[in-house]
C-alpha cells in the first residue's frame, strides 16, 4: 500500500501523506453515508425529490409523501445505517481479538447464536418478543464463549477459531432448521429473518437498536488503543501491561452485543462485518483509532446503499438486503482468501 520514503511522513501510492489520506477517506465515507440516506429516501415505488424531502423534514405535514418519508423510508434507512455501523464495528473488533482476518460475527457463529435464540423466541414464545434483544445477546455471547473454549489450546490459533466457529455455526444452524421444521406453521416471519432484511423496519426497531449502537460506538472507540496493542500478539501485549484475557473477553462481549442488537432487528445479515472492516482496512490501514470510525461510516453507507439497490433492482418485488450482501460478500471473501492466506 505505501512506498518507502526516508524522513518525511509515509505516503501512499499517489504520493499523498498518510494523515491527509486518512482524513480524505473519512470525508469520502461520510459523503457515502449522505448519499446512502439521499438515495434510500428518494428512490422507491414513489419517487420523491430532494426538495420535497427538505420540505418534509423541515415541515412534516399529512401529505402521502410525508407519510412515506416519516413512517417508512426514514426509520428503515436509520435502522439500516445503525445495523451497518454495529456489524462493521463487531467485525473489526473480532478481527483484532481473534487475530484472524476472516473473523466476522456471521462466519464465526456469533450471529448463529443470536439467531437460534431469536428464532426460539419468535417461534416458541412469540408473546415475549420484547426480550428478543437481550436473549439474542445471551445467545451470541454463549456462542462466542463456546467457540473460544473449543479453539483454546495453549493460546488462540486463527485456524482453530475459524474451524470451531464453522462447527458451532453448523450446529446452531441445525437447531434453527429443526425449530423451523417442527413449527412450520409459525415460520413465515422467521424465514425472512434468516436472510436478513430491512422490510417493514420502523421506529420501534430504531428504538431497539439505537441505545446499543451508541453504547457500542463509545466503548469501541475506548477499546481502540487496546485493540492496537493486541495486534502485537499476546506476549507483547502482556508485556505492555494489557490484561489480555480480560480484554479479549470484554471486547468479544462488546462485539457480541453489537452483533446481537443487529440480529434482533434485521435477522442474520451476513458479510457486512467481514467486507466493511476489510475495505476500510485496505484504505486507512490497521490503526484502530482510524479503522473503527472508517468502518462505522462505511458500514452505514454499505447497508443503506445495498438496501436501496435491493428495493429498486426488481421493483415492485423487493429483495432482502441480505441477498445483495451475500452476492457482494461471497466473491469478496474469496478475494481475501487468495490475497491474505
Amino acid at each position: 500500500m505505501e512506498h518507502r520514503t526516508d524522513t518525511t511522513e509515509v505516503v501512499n501510492f499517489w504520493g499523498i501523506p498518510r494523515s491527509l489520506w486518512r482524513t480524505g477517506v473519512l470525508i469520502v465515507f461520510f459523503a457515502l453515508v449522505l448519499l446512502g440516506f439521499f438515495l434510500s429516501l428518494t428512490k422507491g415505488s414513489s419517487q420523491i425529490t430532494l426538495n420535497q424531502i427538505i420540505d418534509i423534514l423541515s415541515n412534516p405535514g399529512d401529505s402521502p409523501q410525508s407519510q412515506i418519508i416519516w413512517n417508512i423510508r426514514m426509520p428503515r434507512t436509520i435502522v439500516g445505517a445503525l445495523v451497518g455501523v454495529n456489524l462493521s464495528l463487531a467485525g473489526a473488533i473480532l478481527q483484532a481479538v481473534m487475530r484472524n482476518p476472516l473473523a466476522d460475527p456471521h462466519i464465526i457463529g456469533i450471529s448463529s447464536g443470536a439467531g437460534l435464540a431469536g428464532v426460539a423466541i419468535m417461534i416458541l414464545f412469540p408473546e415475549m418478543e420484547m426480550l428478543l434483544t437481550p436473549v439474542a445477546f445471551v445467545g451470541a455471547m454463549s456462542a462466542a464463549v463456546i467457540i473460544y473454549i473449543l479453539a483454546w489450546k495453549n493460546g488462540i490459533k486463527p485456524v482453530r477459531i475459524i474451524l470451531a466457529g464453522v462447527a458451532v455455526s453448523a450446529f446452531l444452524g441445525a437447531g434453527i432448521s429443526g425449530l423451523m421444521i417442527f413449527f412450520s406453521d409459525r415460520v413465515h416471519g422467521a424465514l425472512m429473518w434468516m436472510v436478513g432484511g430491512l422490510a417493514a423496519r420502523s421506529w420501534p426497531h430504531v428504538h431497539i437498536i439505537l441505545p446499543y449502537a451508541i453504547i457500542g460506538l463509545l466503548l469501541a472507540f475506548c477499546a481502540a488503543s487496546y485493540l492496537n496493542v493486541l495486534q502485537l500478539g499476546d506476549e507483547m501485549a502482556r508485556g505492555l501491561g494489557v490484561n489480555v484475557e480480560v480484554t479479549r473477553i470484554l471486547c468479544t462481549a462488546l462485539a457480541a452485543l453489537l452483533a446481537a442488537s443487529s440480529v434482533s432487528v434485521v435477522g442474520l445479515l451476513g458479510f457486512v462485518g467481514l467486507i466493511v472492516p476489510h475495505a476500510a482496512r485496505l484504505l486507512v490501514g490497521s490503526d484502530y483509532r482510524f479503522l473503527l470510525p472508517s468502518a462505522a461510516l462505511l458500514g452505514a453507507a454499505t447497508v443503506t446503499l445495498s438496501d436501496t439497490f435491493a428495493r429498486v433492482i426488481l421493483a415492485p418485488v423487493e429483495l432482502p438486503v441480505g441477498i445483495i450482501m451475500a452476492f457482494l460478500g461471497a466473491p469478496f471473501f474469496l478475494f481475501l482468501l487468495r490475497r491474505e492466506i
Binding site: 475506548c222 488503543s225 496493542v229 506476549e235 502482556r238
Partner: protein, 260 residues
C-alpha cells in the same frame, strides 16, 4: 544491589515441568545474560519473570512481590521484548514506539506532552529518529530490532528483558545491537537481562550470567569467571578452545562434540 530476586521458580507448560526450582538474582544496573542449551527453559524463565507465563515460586522486584503490581504498573517498571514479535505490516516506527506509552495511559487517555517527549527520546537513543516515519515492514532486520528496542525504552522501564535480540541478524548488526544495549546500560543505568545463544557476546558484553540446563541452575556469576571451556563441556557437551582477544577478554571456539 539486587533488583530482581527469583526464589524457587517453577514453570510448567502443558503439565510438563520446564523450569524446576530455579533461584537466582539479577543485579541492578548490570547487563545479565541467561544462557543454556536449546529447550533448557531460558525463554520460559524470562517470560515467567516478566509475568507473561504463570509460575509458582516467589519473584520480587525491588523487594516487592511482582504479583502485587498492577499490569500497567509492572509494564512501567519492566519492559520485555519477545523473540521475533509481530506487528501489522502497515505500522510506522513512530506508531510502534508510541505503543510503548500504553502503560502510562488511562482508559480514555490521549497522547500527552510527556508521551511525546519519551517517544522522541526513545527514537533518539536508538538512532531511529530519522526513520520514524518509515514502515516497520520496510526496515532491515537490525533497524527493525532497534525500533522494537525503542518501543521498550518508551516504557521508561528500570529493567529491559530481551529474548535473543540478535537472532537472524548478521554479525555487523549483532554488534550494533549489543553495543546499543551496552550504551543504554552505561549511560542510563538501565538494567538489561537477555537470553543469549552467543557465548562470546556473553563474555564481551555482560557482567553477570545465569547458566541453566534442563530447567535447573548450573551456576551464576561473572562470565569472566564462569564461562570457560569447562562450562561448555559440562553444559553443552562441546569441546572448545580458548583464545585471548585483543581487548584482553576471552573468546571460545567450539571445535568438536563430546561423544557420550
Amino acid at each position: 544491589m539486587t533488583i530482581i530476586d527469583v526464589k524457587n521458580l517453577c514453570v510448567s507448560i502443558n503439565d510438563k515441568p520446564i523450569v524446576k526450582n530455579l533461584s537466582f538474582v539479577i543485579p541492578e544496573h548490570q547487563l545479565t545474560a541467561i544462557i543454556g542449551p536449546n529447550g533448557c527453559g531460558k525463554s520460559t524463565t524470562l517470560k515467567a519473570i516478566s509475568r507473561i507465563l504463570p509460575y509458582t515460586g516467589e519473584i520480587t522486584f525491588k523487594n516487592k512481590n511482582t504479583k502485587s503490581f498492577s499490569h500497567k504498573e509492572f509494564a512501567r517498571s519492566l519492559a520485555v521484548l519477545t523473540q521475533s514479535p509481530q506487528a501489522p505490516t502497515d505500522i510506522t516506527v513512530y506508531d510502534l514506539v508510541e505503543m510503548g506509552r500504553f502503560p502510562y495511559r488511562s482508559f480514555l487517555g490521549r497522547q500527552t506532552e510527556e508521551d511525546k517527549h519519551y517517544v522522541h527520546w526513545a527514537l533518539e537513543q536508538t538512532g531511529m529518529l530519522e526513520m520514524r516515519h518509515r514502515l516497520l515492514s520496510t526496515l532491515s532486520g537490525g533497524e527493525r530490532q532497534r525500533a522494537w528496542i525503542a518501543m521498550a525504552l518508551a516504557q521508561n522501564p528500570e529493567v529491559l528483558f530481551l529474548d535473543e535480540p540478535t537472532t537472524y541478524l548478521d554479525i555487523c548488526h549483532q554488534l550494533e545491537i549489543m553495543q546499543l544495549l551496552e550504551r543504554l546500560n552505561k549511560e542510563l543505568g538501565l538494567t538489561v537481562v537477555m537470553v543469549l545463544h552467543d557465548l562470546n557476546h556473553t563474555l564481551q558484553y555482560t557482567n553477570h550470567v545465569i547458566v541453566i540446563k534442563q530447567g535447573e541452575l548450573v551456576c551464576e556469576g561473572n562470565p569472566k569467571d564462569v564461562v570457560d571451556k569447562e562450562l561448555l563441556r559440562k553444559v553443552y557437551s562441546v569441546l572448545a578452545d580458548e583464545f585471548a582477544c585483543s581487548n584482553g577478554l576471552r573468546a571460545l571456539l567450539p571445535v568438536d562434540l563430546i561423544k557420550q
